[in-house]
């Protein structure tokens, strides 16, 4: 230890000054993180509302049979309308997520971002009957000149899309009771099966995806069981699918109050981790 050192008051002043600077840096970080955590929660809530709205529009009992495609398009359009709000929220936050800053806060914003991707993917599926691409979402989260608000992490894309399979399951199961819905349910079922197979390759690299794959698997099973039950009965009524439609709708209108898909489908899904 240097023998001649007598820490003077100037050394204390230096330390206080330096720590005042550190406080500013830390305060800014904590404040911004808080803003983004709140934003993420708001985005989650809005996304969920949008998803519920899409379910409502698609399973509305007053929907006219035969124009399902048009209905999907109308629903998707309303979905996009609802999601615009989230887009502008993220646009406003771009200042906080610029350049090197993005990864500083990525974990704060990720839950909302994933939920948004799920909602967007749902609307997109209703519009195109296809999986929304990574590039589509990145393009959506960009300004008019195509500059992204922030680099979309592939992991958030995959995790968000993985949650989408749960929503598609609900959609398929509720569609199954509508005229023409059995075919749709099978299409959705095939789609989810395909998703699950393709995500499997990414599961080792992306933290949390493995868990979501399990949820996807259980959604898939539910759909497979439901489409199986329908297939069996379709054989029974092979001569008259209309008669089956009628039987189903009679059954549904009689029992949907206490055996709704919603309560049974929700409880063991495990796809609401972010809440």
């Amino acid at each position: 230890m240097a023998a001649a050192v007598h820490p003077s008051s100037s050394s204390r002043e230096m330390i206080m000054e330096a720590f005042n600077g550190h406080r500013e840096v830390l305060d800014e970080f904590y404040d911004r993180r808080e803003v983004l955590v709140k934003l993420s929660r708001d985005i989650t809530a809005l996304s969920k509302k949008c998803i519920f709205m899409l379910h409502r529009l698609m399973s509305d009992p007053s929907n006219t049979p035969g124009i399902e495609r048009e209905q999907s398009l109308v629903a998707a359009k309303q979905g996009y309308e609802c999601l615009k709000q989230i887009k502008s929220m993220l646009e406003n936050a771009r200042e906080y997520l610029r350049g090197n800053e993005f990864w500083k806060y990525q974990r704060s914003i990720a839950p909302g971002l994933q939920e948004f991707i799920e909602a967007y993917g749902f609307a997109y599926y209703l519009e195109h009957n296809a999986l929304v691409h990574y590039a589509d979402i990145q393009a959506y989260l960009s300004d008019d000149s195509g500059i992204p608000y922030f680099p979309l992490p592939p992991s958030d894309y995959l995790l968000g899309i993985s949650d989408l399979t749960g929503e598609l399951m609900r959609y398929a199961i509720s569609a199954i009771t509508t005229p023409g819905g059995r075919i749709r349910a099978r299409v959705v079922c095939d789609f989810v099966r395909d998703c699950r197979a393709k995500f499997e390759a990414f599961a080792p690299q992306i933290k949390g995806l493995d868990q979501k794959q399990k949820a996807t698997t259980s959604s898939l099973r539910k759909m497979e069981d439901a489409t199986y039950a329908m297939a069996i009965r379709e054989r029974e009524y092979a001569a008259s699918p209309e008669r089956l439609d009628q039987l189903v709708s009679e059954y549904v209108s009689g029992s949907s109050r206490d055996h709704g898909w919603d309560s049974s489908g929700r409880t063991n899904q495990g796809d609401d981790h972010d809440e």
């Binding site: 330390i15 720590f19 894309y157």
Partner: protein
């Protein structure tokens, strides 16, 4: 589903995996140095005060050699992704800050600043989006310094340096006042800061013991 689209993600993820491996390799080199420096500095507890400058000289070349590691890191980390990868090397950096701060205190009795610490391991200002010492890692290193000085107080007295507790006490109190200026959240740093008061107390006790017996006269 479109294979081509997943292809884009696959490529991104593969690049990330390769990068992660490279960074892990480089980080472990830095970690090794950080640990050997800490190992050398651990000898302060058994070294008489007069011999400390010689001990510090032995650690200097290692500090100097960290410049190469820092440069290598800055070259590997892609632009704008400092915060993405920082945790890979955070602990090593905290250890290095600790050693730098300890040497500075033993030599000059002052606190090394964040920018001086960056300078000591050759971090360039324009690397700030790739490789630099984050404020939180710097502060973690300084907390380690206080922990260490509380031990040194005891051991210096054992070795017959009765002035050390007084020098250390003033310095640590200043640091404690500095840390009190921060608005810490309930995280790791907060917990470690809360432990500082025990170090301050320990140092006070030694000062008391020494003064009581007038050993520092």
């Amino acid at each position: 589903m479109d294979e081509r689209e997943f292809g884009e993600i696959t490529v991104q993820l593969e690049q990330e995996a390769t990068l992660r491996e490279k960074l892990k390799d480089e980080s472990s080199k830095l970690d090794q140095k950080s640990r050997s420096m800490q190992g050398i500095m651990n000898k302060i507890h058994a070294t008489p005060t007069s011999q400390l400058p010689k001990l510090i000289e032995t650690v200097k070349p290692l500090i100097e050699s960290c410049k190469q590691n820092a440069k290598a890191m800055a070259e590997i980390v892609p632009p704008n992704s400092f915060w993405r990868w920082k945790n890979t090397w955070a602990q090593s950096i905290q250890g290095i800050v600790f050693v730098l701060a300890l040497c500075r205190f033993l030599e000059k009795g002052t606190l090394i600043t964040l920018s001086e610490a960056n300078e000591a391991i050759g971090v360039q200002e324009e690397w700030s989006d790739r490789f630099t010492i984050a404020t939180e890692d710097y502060l973690q290193g300084i907390i380690s310094l206080v922990n260490e000085l509380s031990r040194l107080t005891v051991n210096a007295v054992t070795l017959g340096d009765f002035d050390a507790p007084f020098r250390i006490s003033i310095f640590v109190k200043d640091l404690f006042a500095g840390f009190s200026l921060l608005n810490l959240k309930n995280d790791g740093m907060r917990r470690r800061f809360d432990s500082l008061k025990y170090d301050v107390k320990r140092i006070e006790e030694v000062v008391y013991d020494v003064s009581l017996r007038k050993l520092n006269m």
